[in-house]
């Protein structure tokens, strides 16, 4: 049977139809010279098709950089507390990459182990992830080295592959994806034959062994030693790598506003900042930058796979691209794999 097709020219219809049903449409857009980001779009002609991965992942759709969780009012009658009731509209993510799609599993694993953070789950439930398999990439991409393929379906509701003609073949991955095709059947058409698909990108393969890295990190003695200080000497603690990372889940909780009316917010935070773990007493368990960098590595290759049973690193390469001092995590991965 021939695969279903989504014509590029039908995206106009799709964007309009999703909007008409009250949903939002997120897609890559060239927001500045050379910078592509996932943003809410209103019209299909805003969509950028020539991108590797957008600057930030689409995690902002299910884990916004800042979000109100409660509101307080302080007046002479007393204090009132009101929790935010989330009722997110459908959000269609178009043009996700398999690495980012996979990262939803990671975020989900943190936000649902034992306690369930409904600010995350409600948004995720309302999301339809339409991934476009990668036909382009760069030297920072390394998904195949962490067990993901540039046309993997994990975490996607639909997987699209570009055809030579610029349209997309459609693979329904989840029930949610199937239902979406049914709802939007006007744009998911069926031809007689499947058109020729473009070749999938082949990222560079690192000389890494995730199991070996995992074993290395399991040994608490390996937390000591000069390796970390040596490897992370350059790090200036800017936090860019963690903000760009699709699996980073850390946040701060702050009350913002005046004393009479305040919002309690969840705001992205980063383990690369010195204040992150600073105790009220003045003691800081991670008082040096290399200790903070070590924590990030530990988080990605021990805590995520060990505790949460998901991937801490999806190989999107963002941290490698954004680091102002070119501290390349893949070099540390290779070093430890060879240790």
């Amino acid at each position: 049977m021939a695969k279903k097709i989504l014509k590029r020219s039908d995206l106009t219809k799709l964007v309009a139809s999703v909007g008409k049903a009250g949903g939002a449409f997120v897609a890559p857009k060239a927001v500045a010279n050379g910078l592509v980001e996932y943003v809410f779009i209103k019209k299909a002609d805003e969509i950028e098709f020539d991108y590797i991965v957008p600057g930030k992942s689409f995690k902002e759709a299910n884990f916004p950089q800042t979000e109100v969780v409660a509101r307080f009012k302080n007046d002479p009658e007393g204090v009132t507390v009101e929790g935010v009731e989330l009722n997110p509209p459908r959000v269609v993510i178009f043009g996700a990459r398999p690495c980012d799609a996979k990262s939803s599993e990671s975020l989900n694993s943190v936000f649902t182990w034992d306690f369930i953070d409904e600010f995350y789950t409600k948004r995720e439930d309302a999301m339809v992830t339409i991934t476009v398999a990668c036909t382009t990439g760069d030297n920072a991409c390394f998904c195949t080295s962490v067990g993901i393929k540039p046309d993997d379906t994990d975490g996607s509701d639909l997987l699209l592959r570009e055809t030579e003609g610029g349209d997309f073949t459609v693979e329904a991955v989840t029930d949610k994806g199937k239902a979406f095709i049914k709802e939007e059947k006007a744009v998911f058409t069926e031809g007689k034959a499947t058109p020729k698909e473009r070749t999938i990108f082949e990222p560079r393969k690192l000389d890494v062994d995730l199991e070996k890295i995992g074993e290395y990190l399991k040994d608490t003695d390996h937390y000591e030693g000069d390796l970390w200080a040596d490897m992370a000497r350059k790090c200036i603690g800017c936090g860019s790598c963690t903000y760009a990372c699709p699996t980073c889940h850390c946040f701060d909780i702050t009350d913002e506003g005046g004393f009479s009316e305040t919002e309690r917010r969840k705001n992205w935070d980063s383990c690369q900042f010195d204040f992150f773990t600073l105790h009220a007493s003045g003691h800081n368990p991670r008082d040096r930058q290399y200790k903070r960098w070590r924590n990030r590595f530990m988080c990605k290759f021990n805590i995520y796979p060990g505790k949460f049973k998901t991937k801490g690193c999806v190989g999107c390469g963002r941290c490698v691209r954004v680091c102002p001092v070119r501290l390349d995590i893949t070099e540390v991965m290779e070093e430890i794999s060879g240790a």
Binding site: E85, D255, H279, K291
Partner: protein, 277 residues
């Protein structure tokens, strides 16, 4: 929608000034039903908010055997604790919890107990002490070693006087050399030294310690010398926390999330942790 970050409102029913900049609040839930149903286990903690300014993490310092209220003891040190300390009886604040694991005191039936605390490390231990004292017949000998830098810094002074009077508790109080006053009747010396001097017997005994990291370190070796096994020594870890529910990612010691898997650990467990304190 279930909102993990929404605090419950509590009223400050009583305030005790314990030491310079250290206060104890007695808190009662505004919601009558919650006031009745609220339960926790000794060792658990909560997030207390000065609504509009933010949250701070403290242990629940009252025993789990007393219903209808909770207490917390904290030192005024930052924006939130400063705002809390400025509040008065009758004021409203926020509470989220209880979170974390607890001291397994049910498993300690029939055993002798040694409580060791330094300075502001007494509040979590005090919760355990009273939880055990309220079931006094379940336990053997009870020894408490408590020390602080100076006499003025000792917290729960009234309770210390009460424990001193009871003949079913052996209370040993100490202050660091130089911290004594002319009236001071207790010991002078650092907590680990006084623990060694007091020499509680290790046989069939559980020890609970809490205090500054340096005190814990040396007390652990003192207990080891006295023959305590690492499995019989409990402590509660402190770390910076924001969510309390395993999401915000900042309380981990290596691969351990203190807010979820702790804060109570045996010395044996602590020794297996990454050097990330």
């Amino acid at each position: 929608m279930k909102n993990l970050y929404l605090p419950e409102l509590v009223t400050i029913e009583d305030i005790t000034n314990e030491a310079p900049d250290v206060v104890t609040f007695r808190l009662v839930f505004k919601d009558e039903a919650l006031k009745e149903s609220f339960e926790f286990k000794t060792g658990q903690f909560g997030l207390y908010s000065a609504l509009g300014l933010g949250e701070s993490t403290f242990c629940i310092a009252s025993p789990d055997t007393r219903k209808g209220y909770i207490e917390c003891t904290f030192r005024k040190s930052g924006r939130v604790t400063g705002a809390l300390a400025a509040m008065s009886v009758g004021d409203t604040m926020g509470f989220r919890g209880p979170y974390g694991n607890a001291f397994p005191i049910e498993d300690w039936k029939g055993k002798n107990l040694v409580f060791i605390a330094g300075g502001i490390g007494l509040p979590p231990v005090r919760s355990v002490i009273w939880s055990c004292l309220d079931k006094r017949e379940d336990f053997g000998d009870i020894t408490i070693v408590y020390g602080s830098r100076a006499v003025a810094d000792l917290v729960y002074k009234e309770e210390l006087a009460h424990w001193e009077e009871r003949d079913d508790i052996n209370l040993v109080q100490t202050v660091d050399p130089g911290g004594e006053t002319p009236e001071w009747k207790g010991k002078v010396g650092f907590v680990p030294t006084i623990v060694k001097e007091t020499a509680p017997k290790a046989d069939n005994t559980i020890a609970v310690i809490c205090g500054p990291p340096i005190m814990i370190k040396f007390t652990l070796s003192a207990l080891e010398e006295l023959g305590f096994s690492d499995e019989a020594v409990y402590t509660t870890l402190e770390n910076k926390m924001k969510c309390g529910v395993g999401k915000c990612g900042r309380c981990n010691v290596g691969d351990i999330y203190v807010c979820k898997e702790g804060p109570v650990y045996t010395a044996a467990e602590v020794k297996l942790m990454y050097n990330d304190f």
